[in-house]
């Protein structure tokens, strides 16, 4: 059994979020369950945002990843409990920052940054907190758009939900 569990984990780790390819779906915290059934594995996932256009692709990618190991996978989607940015792993947050996306803060800090314009979001390029929000909505539903006043680069911030 352990062997199978490890293998499932490994395969899931090879499936990335199509919109943030440096993160695996495990890093994102969208895999809720993985079960070995008699003739297939059942993977349960949950969407980040209701309208996340990546969900159908992720489902397909999971099935294909298992298929390449000659395992049949079925994917189930659940809405409850709703996904939260807190489910992104620590490892995932570090990868995000390296990739150029500022990782989510906790909810109180998030509100201060987005609502009161407090300068606490760190620029993933140069590390400065002299940054400013350009828009609460960015290139995908999960991001807000910021710019750094020091290195002048624009960047995405993965906002809390």
């Amino acid at each position: 059994m352990i062997k199978i569990d490890n293998q499932i984990q490994e395969i899931l780790e090879s499936v990335s979020d199509p919109e943030i390819p440096v993160l695996s779906i495990l890093d994102m915290g969208i895999v809720k369950d993985a079960q070995q059934k008699a003739d297939h594995v059942l993977i349960t996932i949950t969407p980040t945002y209701s309208g996340c256009p990546a969900m159908d692709v992720i489902e397909e990618d999971i099935v294909n990843a298992f298929k390449s190991h000659n395992i049949e996978a079925k994917v189930d989607t659940v809405l409850s409990p709703p996904w939260t940015t807190e489910w992104i792993s620590e490892n995932g947050k570090q990868k995000l920052e390296k990739y150029g996306i500022a990782p989510p803060m906790n909810e109180t800090m998030d509100k201060k940054a987005l609502l009161d314009g407090e300068r606490i979001i760190k620029c993933p390029q140069c590390g400065s907190t002299n940054t400013e929000m350009v828009s609460q909505f960015g290139s995908t539903p999960c991001k807000a758009l910021f710019k750094c006043q020091d290195c002048l680069e624009p960047f995405d911030y993965l906002k809390c939900i």
Binding site: Y49, S50, G51, L79, L114, Q136, P141
Partner: protein, 250 residues
């Protein structure tokens, strides 16, 4: 099949879908890049919610219904959205006031539906509320910025509010289906939502130096399928692919 439940889900779904459609029309036409992206992101959220509702409605309906037939293949009278959400994108002031009047209702509605006895409705509400709180932030901030902005932006916002106010009351006119859902513990209590709504909009409009019109909102009918002249055009566009190529999939 529980027809009341089906109808109730449709009502929740259609408000999100038709407002989502109106916002999607702005893709590439927003007044600035940031607002364009924001409005289409909000549209995407609303469509995501619609999809969850439509999948659930199709399951409740049974037979050979699916999310697409529920979303696209009804006649105008079978759509139960309020008239407010079908009002056109006259200008950015209308878009923002329409959005804020809806968000101020949507947020406390979902707060109540989170505790619905219907597990699926509760799950969709718990998911959606996180997104809708961002919508509410966005629309209320723009109401303040433009209302308390230049003379021209103030005047345009007041004009939009004076016009759209007529449609704001229908949200709280309890339909038979809503009454049923409330009594079953599935739906929301509109009176309680109305109280929160009033507090919210009064505070925001006051900060925005905008005056809430004195007349009582009088436009209604959408909840019972009686729509304004705009609805036919919306459905023509929305349904075109499914009507032209029945059962098409991507």
């Amino acid at each position: 099949m529980n027809d009341n439940l089906y109808q109730y889900i449709l009502q929740l779904s259609d408000n999100s879908m038709i407002l989502g459609h109106r916002l999607s029309e702005l893709c590439g036409h927003g007044p600035s890049l940031e607002t364009d992206i924001a409005l289409t992101n909000i549209s995407l959220d609303l469509y995501g919610q619609t999809r969850s509702y439509c999948q659930y409605a199709a399951k409740v309906k049974g037979e050979d219904f699916n999310e697409d037939t529920v979303a696209f293949l009804r006649t105008e009278r079978e759509y139960k959205n309020v008239l407010l959400v079908e009002q056109p994108n006259t200008d950015f002031a209308y878009i923002i006031v329409r959005q804020f009047l809806f968000d101020a209702y949507h947020l406390p509605l979902l707060e109540q539906l989170k505790n619905s006895k219907d597990e699926m409705i509760a799950a969709i509400a718990a998911k959606s509320i996180k997104e809708v709180s961002y919508h509410h932030r966005f629309s209320s901030e723009w109401v303040k910025r433009l209302g308390d902005g230049t003379e021209e932006s103030h005047q345009k916002m007041q004009e939009a509010l004076d016009y759209l106010w007529a449609y704001a009351g229908e949200l709280f006119e309890e339909s038979q289906i809503e009454k049923w859902a409330k009594e079953e513990g599935i739906g929301a209590d509109l009176n309680a939502i109305h109280e929160e709504y009033k507090k919210d909009i009064e505070a925001v409009f006051a900060e925005a130096t905008l005056t809430i019109p004195e007349y009582d909102p009088y436009q209604q009918g959408g909840k019972n399928g009686i729509h304004s002249e705009h609805m036919g055009y919306i459905l023509t566009e929305l349904q075109y692919m499914q009507r032209t190529y029945p059962n098409m999939t991507w």
